[in-house]
């Protein structure tokens, strides 16, 4: 059997090597149009930052062998040809015509089974000047090496990143933290990580980026680039301003490379993604596809999405190889789990955000929980912020998003949720989920359990809340409400607010509520505020039992408000 694989970065090599192990007699050939293959593409920001010093590390196995043509042939038994570009598939003859870019010759390669692992390409925005030197749409390791050369040779001194998604933020950190460049992120929508996390979490992250020298411009679109005398970009023009920049990185998303498949008459989605079944088979039974070039079923929305991640590509490659060898493995879909580092914060998510849930027609409820990531008395404990999105009708958990301190604490909660969300788990499954516990690792009630408890209390109507940004709008005079803040924290915490906002603020410490509730004025909606909303919820229950029911809790409470860079928040309480 001749197996021909197009693409040799992630899904391609995984398919090739697993298939060769399962079908040792098969003749497996892998081609790629680039010279450098089988690299950890997700590691590119860390190569650019210098965390990973040498690009070869991204191409090495854990035991230190470079994954080049020789390696695949001698160690893996897979014939690999680089700088060979696939041109067209002749499905009747079962041959692939290719151009050998080093010789300029066209050839045809026969196959019994063909695997398309053609990946994705970054979107190059069609703007005037987009071909100037210094403008990169980050894709391959080659491009990354070119960017690093710009940095080491001091051609880059000020950077603009177009797109505030994960890659944009990772690149911002690489350039600002390690190279000291002033960096501006220009984001088209109203927030960074749009659709991925809530506006509140995006707000926390934005402040953190600013603290580290990264400017974030939202609701802003790039319109053109201008050049210096040497043909290098020197300015980025937006709909609002001009920004000096000699390095521009387009991180505005990717498009699947599906032309080869489409031209061969295979089923391809409008966005270019190749359509495959759960066994990674295209509409031609002899042609498989895997990796960034295919569509993936989203297990929460039921829609087909892109999933351009090395982890997904590898798991799909394994499934493709299994099926080539007659093992009926399946790749059933995904829930969009992601994790990223951004300076001293970690951001992650799984399932869908409230915004996506509402867009998809779910009756979405959002619970925001702030709690320490380990026992609060344990020295290294730090605050974690989790958003849980649930379905008001059936209590299904639709998504979880969070921000945490450096390390794997947030990963531990995202990973715990990922498989459960894929299995359509409910609030109750999460409320009683067994998470490993010892004080150096978690609270006795893990923040993930607590978040589900908050969702449960919300769903039952025991907890009634207002959104952080409604509160901010009211405080900033942009929204009229007949509200009065009841500050449940210690008196010294409330003091600066009583002075600053005497007509809006009242102090009534949490543990005095049962004794002193009669001091609360009537005729206004009481906005219950503490640090993390735990005490506010309890006070709401107490007041309910005293028939004082016109109360609302500020979700996220002071722990969120003080991190949003609000001009009116007293500095000394930070």
């Amino acid at each position: 059997m001749k197996i021909l694989i197009v693409g040799a970065v992630a899904a391609g090599p995984k398919t090739a090597c697993r298939a060769k192990r399962l079908l040792p007699q098969a003749e497996i050939t892998m081609i790629d149009q680039d010279k450098l293959i089988s690299y950890g593409g997700c590691g590119i920001p860390y190569f650019i930052s210098g965390d990973v010093e040498d690009g070869r590390e991204l191409r090495s196995t854990s035991y230190g062998m470079i994954r080049d043509e020789r390696f695949f042939l001698e160690a893996k038994g897979v014939l690999t040809r680089t700088q060979v570009r696939a041109i067209a598939i002749d499905r009747k003859q079962k041959v692939l015509s290719v151009d050998d870019l080093s010789t300029g010759k066209r050839e045809t390669l026969p196959y019994d089974k063909l695997v398309l692992a053609t990946g994705s390409a970054p979107i190059l925005l069609p703007l005037p000047g987009n071909d100037l030197a210094g403008i990169y749409a980050l894709s391959s390791l080659d491009k990354a090496i070119a960017i690093k050369k710009d940095l080491t040779q001091r051609r880059a001194s000020k950077a603009v990143i177009i797109g505030g998604g994960g890659i944009g933020i990772e690149m911002a950190e690489a350039l600002a933290d390690m190279w000291g460049l002033p960096v501006t992120i220009v984001e088209l929508t109203s927030q960074i990580l749009p659709g991925l996390v809530s506006p509140v979490l995006a707000g926390l992250l934005t402040q953190h980026l600013k603290k580290h020298g990264v400017e974030v411009l939202t609701n802003e679109s790039v319109t053109a680039f201008t050049a210096d005398g040497n043909g290098r970009v020197n300015r980025v023009l937006t709909n609002k301003r001009e920004i000096d920049a000699d390095l521009v990185i387009m991180a505005a998303g990717v498009r699947p490379r599906g032309e080869l498949a489409r031209n061969a008459g295979l089923a391809v989605a409008e966005n270019g993604a190749i359509i495959v079944d759960r066994r990674m088979r295209t509409s031609d039974p002899d042609i498989y596809a895997a990796g960034d070039c295919v569509e993936v079923l989203h297990l929460v929305t039921g829609k087909r999405t892109l999933a351009p991640l090395g982890s997904v590509a590898n798991r799909q490659g394994r499934v493709a190889a299994d099926n080539l060898a007659g093992i009926p493995s399946t790749f059933d879909g995904w829930v969009g789990s992601f994790i990223m580092k951004a300076f001293d914060l970690v951001v992650g998510a799984t399932g869908i955000s409230r915004e996506v849930a509402l867009r998809e027609g779910f009756p979405a409820q959002e619970a925001l929980c702030v709690q320490t990531d380990r026992a609060h008395f344990y020295p290294q404990s730090a605050l974690m912020f989790l958003n849980m999105i649930t379905d008001r009708k059936n209590r299904q958990v639709l998504g979880l998003q969070g921000i945490g301190a450096p390390g794997d604490g947030l990963l531990a909660r995202i990973n715990a949720a990922s498989g459960l969300i894929a299995g359509k788990a409910s609030i109750d499954d999460f409320g009683n989920l067994e998470l490993a516990y010892a004080p150096p690792f978690a609270s006795a009630i893990d923040i993930l359990n607590t978040t589900a408890h908050v969702a449960d209390n919300l769903a039952a109507g025991r907890l009634r809340v207002i959104d952080v940004f409604d509160f901010v709008a009211w405080m900033e005079g942009k929204q009229e409400n007949n509200w009065l803040v009841v500050d449940l924290r210690y008196p010294d915490e409330a003091e600066p607010f009583l002075q600053g906002f005497p007509d809006r603020w009242l102090s009534l410490p949490y543990d005095r509520i049962r004794a002193d509730y009669r001091k609360l004025p009537a005729g206004k909606t009481l906005i219950l505020l503490c640090n993390s909303a735990t005490r506010a919820y309890e006070v709401q229950c107490v007041l309910d039992s005293l028939t004082i029911t016109d109360t609302l809790v500020v979700m996220g409470a002071a722990n969120v408000l003080r991190r949003l860079g609000l001009s009116w928040w007293p500095r000394k309480t930070d």
Copy 2:
């Protein structure tokens, strides 16, 4: 409604406070025989070590209020009485007779609903001299304060810990790392963490403890204690030796405090654990129980077990409160998830170990995987070791155990597995489990996915292995085998072994196997060895296809062997 709660450490306060929120009109009273209540018992080792400086921190809320009688009354609306011991339940009259230890008076307290949260007591081994000063069976915060006094007042200079379970190891670290005491752990069985992790993982941990000055004696039992002239322990006698010690901590397990329930005629198991249903109801519909004093269904074995953990107690307390208020929540069982820190290692598990699986009659298969916890090219990557236990018949994952580097990396895998194992997930569910990925957090193929892939290859017979300890026994001449090691690592890694064991060792680097396999001698079983068994598995596949099938892979490979403290392992390769 009068709700009376016996016990005010974990399950008791959780039940009380949640019940008060759900039933604000209820009159809730909580009693405890101790003076100090509502403390984080699992934090005791960190209080003794000094990581947590003040015992009050274990009794404080995250917002810094001490959880004492006043707090529960004023903030929570729960009447709390300390130093009040429950004596007997009169179920007909629905009263509890109690002794007020401060006044010496007996009283009766009426109830409509009674909640037993009587906890557990550490097992005090019935050995001669067990009542000497300096011998502690760690239970309450009071005891912990007494131990810390012994340390600060320099009465303790050398410690023996009886029992190599989690608490024993945590205490060993506390005493050795922070106080510099020489510590000896005496463990009755053949390994530390018996039943919880495999002998291999226990071996790795034992070496790590030794490196940090903790002696570990296994297969050894304490027989008596002797005293100095002041009545303080000065020596621990075992079946094998005498050990000088002026501080002894018994960490040989706990027994549930079920006497009160048993004497009242409630259903109680032989070991003293109160039997409850999924709603935490005892055999009397007006009496609930929660926390260390109850039995918990193990969702893998189907047997009833103890689950003495603060996290379980809290979740059970919430369920008890819900049901008191008519909300039909359930606590369905657990899978024994745990995590602990031991110096610079983290140990964790969920589900059952191979030893328990075999004992329970499962046809257990064990896959051992060694891989970096994040992308191997990322600077902070470190090795993680995972054991996956599966059912040979139906591919169900029965358990996962692991050792990792400091931080939450292992927690992220244990938490991901816990909910899935409770749901009876299979090897395939784990092989394709979606785990969040970015190079600072995981490999493109997460170690948890890889471990499932190893289990899959084992189950399919593609991977054929020998146990690490069989290999060690053969190398040490304790086991005869017609074996020859084929060292697949780089020649300089193999060199010291070729010199040390010329008749047992052969070097054939991994990437030369397809070219040079003819150099392999016939007539012996080839033991394929590399660093993590990845290359060995691939070579096994290659050789199979060449009809050289008498080969076996060493599970865990050199990455495990070099960490077992083997006398014959060449030092310079460490």
